[in-house]
Protein backbone atom coordinates (compact mmCIF):
# COMPACT_ATOMS: atom_id res chain seq x y z
CA UNK A 1 0.00 0.00 0.00
CA UNK A 2 2.77 2.39 1.01
CA UNK A 3 4.69 1.55 -2.09
CA UNK A 4 1.63 2.37 -4.17
CA UNK A 5 1.22 5.77 -2.52
CA UNK A 6 4.78 6.62 -3.39
CA UNK A 7 4.25 5.57 -6.96
CA UNK A 8 1.05 7.60 -6.96
CA UNK A 9 3.04 10.80 -6.89
CA UNK A 10 4.41 10.07 -10.33
CA UNK A 11 1.40 8.34 -11.84
CA UNK A 12 -2.12 9.23 -10.83
CA UNK A 13 -4.09 6.14 -9.98
CA UNK A 14 -6.60 4.50 -7.74
CA UNK A 15 -7.21 1.03 -6.38
CA UNK A 16 -10.49 -0.70 -5.72
CA UNK A 17 -10.62 -3.40 -3.11
CA UNK A 18 -12.91 -6.39 -3.43
CA UNK A 19 -16.51 -5.50 -2.59
CA UNK A 20 -17.06 -8.99 -1.18
CA UNK A 21 -15.55 -12.02 0.48
CA UNK A 22 -15.84 -14.64 -2.23
CA UNK A 23 -14.57 -14.45 -5.78
CA UNK A 24 -14.11 -11.88 -8.53
CA UNK A 25 -14.26 -12.81 -12.20
CA UNK A 26 -14.43 -11.42 -15.72
CA UNK A 27 -17.57 -9.33 -16.31
CA UNK A 28 -18.21 -11.20 -19.58
CA UNK A 29 -19.30 -14.21 -17.47
CA UNK A 30 -22.34 -12.30 -16.15
CA UNK A 31 -25.48 -13.78 -17.76
CA UNK A 32 -26.95 -10.40 -18.72
CA UNK A 33 -25.69 -8.59 -21.77
CA UNK A 34 -26.39 -5.15 -20.33
CA UNK A 35 -23.41 -5.90 -18.09
CA UNK A 36 -21.39 -8.55 -19.95
CA UNK A 37 -21.17 -6.48 -23.12
CA UNK A 38 -19.96 -3.50 -21.05
CA UNK A 39 -22.74 -1.26 -22.32
CA UNK A 40 -22.75 0.48 -18.96
CA UNK A 41 -18.97 0.45 -18.66
CA UNK A 42 -16.06 -1.82 -17.82
CA UNK A 43 -15.90 -3.68 -14.53
CA UNK A 44 -15.84 -7.03 -12.80
CA UNK A 45 -18.23 -9.77 -11.81
CA UNK A 46 -18.25 -10.91 -8.20
CA UNK A 47 -19.93 -13.46 -5.97
CA UNK A 48 -20.21 -13.16 -2.21
CA UNK A 49 -20.05 -16.15 0.11
CA UNK A 50 -21.32 -14.21 3.15
CA UNK A 51 -23.99 -11.92 1.66
CA UNK A 52 -22.30 -8.65 2.54
CA UNK A 53 -21.30 -5.85 0.16
CA UNK A 54 -18.40 -3.63 1.23
CA UNK A 55 -17.28 -0.26 -0.11
CA UNK A 56 -14.37 -0.89 -2.52
CA UNK A 57 -13.03 2.67 -2.11
CA UNK A 58 -13.50 5.80 -0.03
CA UNK A 59 -16.29 7.90 -1.49
CA UNK A 60 -19.82 9.15 -1.32
CA UNK A 61 -23.07 7.26 -1.93
CA UNK A 62 -24.79 8.90 -4.92
CA UNK A 63 -27.86 6.70 -4.75
CA UNK A 64 -29.23 3.55 -3.19
CA UNK A 65 -31.93 2.07 -5.38
CA UNK A 66 -35.35 1.91 -3.68
CA UNK A 67 -35.19 -1.88 -4.03
CA UNK A 68 -31.78 -1.95 -2.26
CA UNK A 69 -30.30 -4.34 -4.80
CA UNK A 70 -27.92 -1.77 -6.24
CA UNK A 71 -26.17 1.45 -5.38
CA UNK A 72 -23.89 4.02 -6.94
CA UNK A 73 -20.75 5.19 -5.22
CA UNK A 74 -18.57 8.09 -6.32
CA UNK A 75 -14.92 7.80 -5.39
CA UNK A 76 -12.92 10.75 -4.10
CA UNK A 77 -11.17 10.86 -7.51
CA UNK A 78 -14.50 11.24 -9.31
CA UNK A 79 -15.01 7.71 -10.64
CA UNK A 80 -18.64 6.59 -10.46
CA UNK A 81 -19.12 2.96 -9.53
CA UNK A 82 -22.31 0.94 -9.88
CA UNK A 83 -22.58 -2.05 -7.55
CA UNK A 84 -25.42 -4.35 -8.57
CA UNK A 85 -26.25 -7.49 -6.58
CA UNK A 86 -27.53 -10.43 -8.65
CA UNK A 87 -29.34 -10.26 -11.97
CA UNK A 88 -33.06 -9.45 -12.24
CA UNK A 89 -33.03 -8.86 -8.48
CA UNK A 90 -34.93 -5.59 -9.05
CA UNK A 91 -38.00 -7.80 -9.23
CA UNK A 92 -37.51 -8.92 -5.62
CA UNK A 93 -38.54 -5.39 -4.60
CA UNK A 94 -36.17 -5.25 -1.67
CA UNK A 95 -37.03 -8.61 -0.13
CA UNK A 96 -33.90 -10.16 1.35
CA UNK A 97 -31.87 -6.95 1.04
CA UNK A 98 -30.85 -4.54 3.78
CA UNK A 99 -29.07 -1.23 3.27
CA UNK A 100 -26.68 0.30 5.80
CA UNK A 101 -26.11 3.55 3.90
CA UNK A 102 -28.20 6.22 2.22
CA UNK A 103 -27.76 8.84 -0.49
CA UNK A 104 -25.15 11.43 0.43
CA UNK A 105 -23.38 9.29 3.03
CA UNK A 106 -19.57 9.31 3.03
CA UNK A 107 -18.01 5.87 3.28
CA UNK A 108 -14.56 4.38 3.72
CA UNK A 109 -13.20 1.36 1.86
CA UNK A 110 -14.33 -1.76 3.72
CA UNK A 111 -17.50 -0.21 5.20
CA UNK A 112 -20.55 -2.47 5.08
CA UNK A 113 -23.00 -1.12 2.47
CA UNK A 114 -25.65 -3.80 1.94
CA UNK A 115 -26.50 -7.26 3.13
CA UNK A 116 -28.42 -9.76 1.05
CA UNK A 117 -29.81 -13.26 1.28
CA UNK A 118 -27.93 -15.35 -1.28
CA UNK A 119 -30.29 -18.34 -0.96
CA UNK A 120 -33.35 -16.18 -1.54
CA UNK A 121 -31.69 -14.49 -4.54
CA UNK A 122 -30.80 -17.89 -6.03
CA UNK A 123 -34.40 -19.00 -5.55
CA UNK A 124 -36.15 -15.86 -6.81
CA UNK A 125 -33.84 -14.12 -9.29
CA UNK A 126 -31.81 -15.20 -12.29
CA UNK A 127 -28.52 -15.48 -10.40
CA UNK A 128 -26.65 -14.14 -7.38
CA UNK A 129 -23.66 -13.28 -9.57
CA UNK A 130 -23.12 -9.54 -9.12
CA UNK A 131 -21.37 -6.72 -10.91
CA UNK A 132 -19.21 -3.73 -10.24
CA UNK A 133 -19.27 -1.27 -13.15
CA UNK A 134 -16.95 1.67 -13.61
CA UNK A 135 -19.38 3.87 -15.49
CA UNK A 136 -18.10 5.68 -18.53
CA UNK A 137 -15.90 8.62 -17.80
CA UNK A 138 -13.10 10.65 -19.25
CA UNK A 139 -10.58 10.54 -16.46
CA UNK A 140 -9.52 6.89 -16.75
CA UNK A 141 -6.41 6.14 -18.74
CA UNK A 142 -6.34 2.36 -18.27
CA UNK A 143 -7.67 -0.31 -15.96
CA UNK A 144 -6.40 -3.70 -14.79
CA UNK A 145 -8.28 -6.45 -12.99
CA UNK A 146 -7.22 -9.18 -10.58
CA UNK A 147 -9.58 -12.14 -10.59
CA UNK A 148 -9.85 -15.10 -8.25
CA UNK A 149 -10.74 -15.91 -4.67
CA UNK A 150 -10.85 -12.72 -2.63
CA UNK A 151 -11.46 -11.27 0.76
CA UNK A 152 -12.31 -7.62 1.23
CA UNK A 153 -8.69 -6.50 1.49
CA UNK A 154 -7.69 -7.85 -1.92
CA UNK A 155 -7.00 -5.23 -4.57
CA UNK A 156 -9.15 -6.20 -7.55
CA UNK A 157 -9.10 -3.15 -9.82
CA UNK A 158 -6.14 -0.92 -10.52
CA UNK A 159 -6.95 2.25 -12.42
CA UNK A 160 -4.51 4.62 -13.99
CA UNK A 161 -5.95 8.11 -14.28
CA UNK A 162 -5.23 10.66 -16.94
CA UNK A 163 -2.90 13.41 -15.83
Amino acid sequence: MFKFLKKNKEEKGMILKSPVVGRCFDISEIPDEVFSSKMLGNGIGFESTEGILYAPVDGEILQVFPTKHALILKSAEGIEILLHIGIDTVEMKGEGFESFVEKGKKVKAGDKLLTFDNDLIKAKAKTNLSVLVLTENEIMESVEFNFGTVDKNNEVIIIKLKK
Binding site: L40, F65, P66, L82, V90, T135
Partner: protein, 87 residues
Amino acid sequence: MMEKKAIVKNETGIHARPALTVVKEASKFKSEVLIVKDGNEYNAKSIVAIMCMAAVKNEELIIKTSGVDEEAAAVAMVKIIEEGLLK
Protein backbone atom coordinates in the same frame (compact mmCIF):
# COMPACT_ATOMS: atom_id res chain seq x y z
CA MET B 1 -37.61 24.86 -24.73
CA MET B 2 -40.21 22.08 -24.51
CA GLU B 3 -41.62 20.49 -21.38
CA LYS B 4 -43.70 17.34 -21.24
CA LYS B 5 -44.86 15.07 -18.45
CA ALA B 6 -44.20 11.33 -18.46
CA ILE B 7 -45.33 8.70 -15.99
CA VAL B 8 -43.15 5.69 -15.24
CA LYS B 9 -45.36 2.70 -15.99
CA ASN B 10 -43.09 -0.31 -16.02
CA GLU B 11 -43.16 -2.52 -12.94
CA THR B 12 -39.50 -2.26 -11.98
CA GLY B 13 -38.97 1.46 -12.57
CA ILE B 14 -35.91 2.95 -14.25
CA HIS B 15 -33.00 0.76 -13.09
CA ALA B 16 -30.03 -0.48 -15.16
CA ARG B 17 -31.62 -1.85 -18.32
CA PRO B 18 -34.45 0.71 -18.65
CA ALA B 19 -31.94 3.46 -17.86
CA LEU B 20 -29.86 2.37 -20.81
CA THR B 21 -32.96 2.43 -23.05
CA VAL B 22 -33.72 5.99 -21.93
CA VAL B 23 -30.14 7.17 -22.46
CA LYS B 24 -29.94 5.59 -25.93
CA GLU B 25 -33.15 7.34 -26.97
CA ALA B 26 -32.08 10.72 -25.60
CA SER B 27 -28.72 10.41 -27.33
CA LYS B 28 -30.41 10.23 -30.75
CA PHE B 29 -31.25 13.92 -30.46
CA LYS B 30 -29.09 16.98 -30.74
CA SER B 31 -31.11 18.85 -28.12
CA GLU B 32 -30.24 18.93 -24.47
CA VAL B 33 -32.56 16.43 -22.78
CA LEU B 34 -33.18 16.72 -19.04
CA ILE B 35 -35.50 14.72 -16.83
CA VAL B 36 -36.82 16.44 -13.74
CA LYS B 37 -37.86 14.36 -10.73
CA ASP B 38 -38.75 15.90 -7.38
CA GLY B 39 -37.29 19.22 -8.51
CA ASN B 40 -33.91 17.72 -9.41
CA GLU B 41 -32.67 17.75 -13.00
CA TYR B 42 -30.92 14.71 -14.50
CA ASN B 43 -29.11 14.62 -17.84
CA ALA B 44 -30.97 12.02 -19.91
CA LYS B 45 -27.84 11.31 -21.95
CA SER B 46 -25.89 10.19 -18.87
CA ILE B 47 -26.38 6.62 -17.66
CA VAL B 48 -25.12 7.51 -14.18
CA ALA B 49 -27.50 10.46 -13.91
CA ILE B 50 -30.49 8.39 -14.99
CA MET B 51 -29.65 5.53 -12.66
CA CYS B 52 -29.12 8.02 -9.84
CA MET B 53 -32.60 9.39 -10.51
CA ALA B 54 -33.94 5.95 -9.43
CA ALA B 55 -37.47 6.58 -10.71
CA VAL B 56 -40.01 3.97 -9.62
CA LYS B 57 -43.38 2.91 -11.01
CA ASN B 58 -46.09 5.60 -11.10
CA GLU B 59 -43.67 8.47 -10.53
CA GLU B 60 -44.22 11.57 -12.61
CA LEU B 61 -41.26 12.93 -14.52
CA ILE B 62 -40.90 16.13 -16.50
CA ILE B 63 -38.98 15.95 -19.75
CA LYS B 64 -37.23 19.24 -20.60
CA THR B 65 -35.66 19.55 -24.00
CA SER B 66 -33.96 22.46 -25.68
CA GLY B 67 -32.32 22.63 -29.07
CA VAL B 68 -33.03 22.27 -32.76
CA ASP B 69 -35.01 19.03 -32.41
CA GLU B 70 -36.54 19.75 -28.99
CA GLU B 71 -40.11 18.90 -29.95
CA ALA B 72 -39.26 15.55 -31.53
CA ALA B 73 -37.00 14.76 -28.57
CA ALA B 74 -39.69 15.54 -25.99
CA VAL B 75 -42.29 13.44 -27.81
CA ALA B 76 -39.86 10.53 -28.22
CA MET B 77 -38.80 10.64 -24.57
CA VAL B 78 -42.39 10.50 -23.30
CA LYS B 79 -43.07 7.58 -25.63
CA ILE B 80 -39.97 5.64 -24.61
CA ILE B 81 -40.62 6.15 -20.88
CA GLU B 82 -44.34 5.40 -20.99
CA GLU B 83 -44.35 2.65 -23.62
CA GLY B 84 -40.80 1.64 -24.50
CA LEU B 85 -39.98 0.35 -21.02
CA LEU B 86 -42.95 -1.99 -20.84
CA LYS B 87 -42.04 -5.54 -21.76
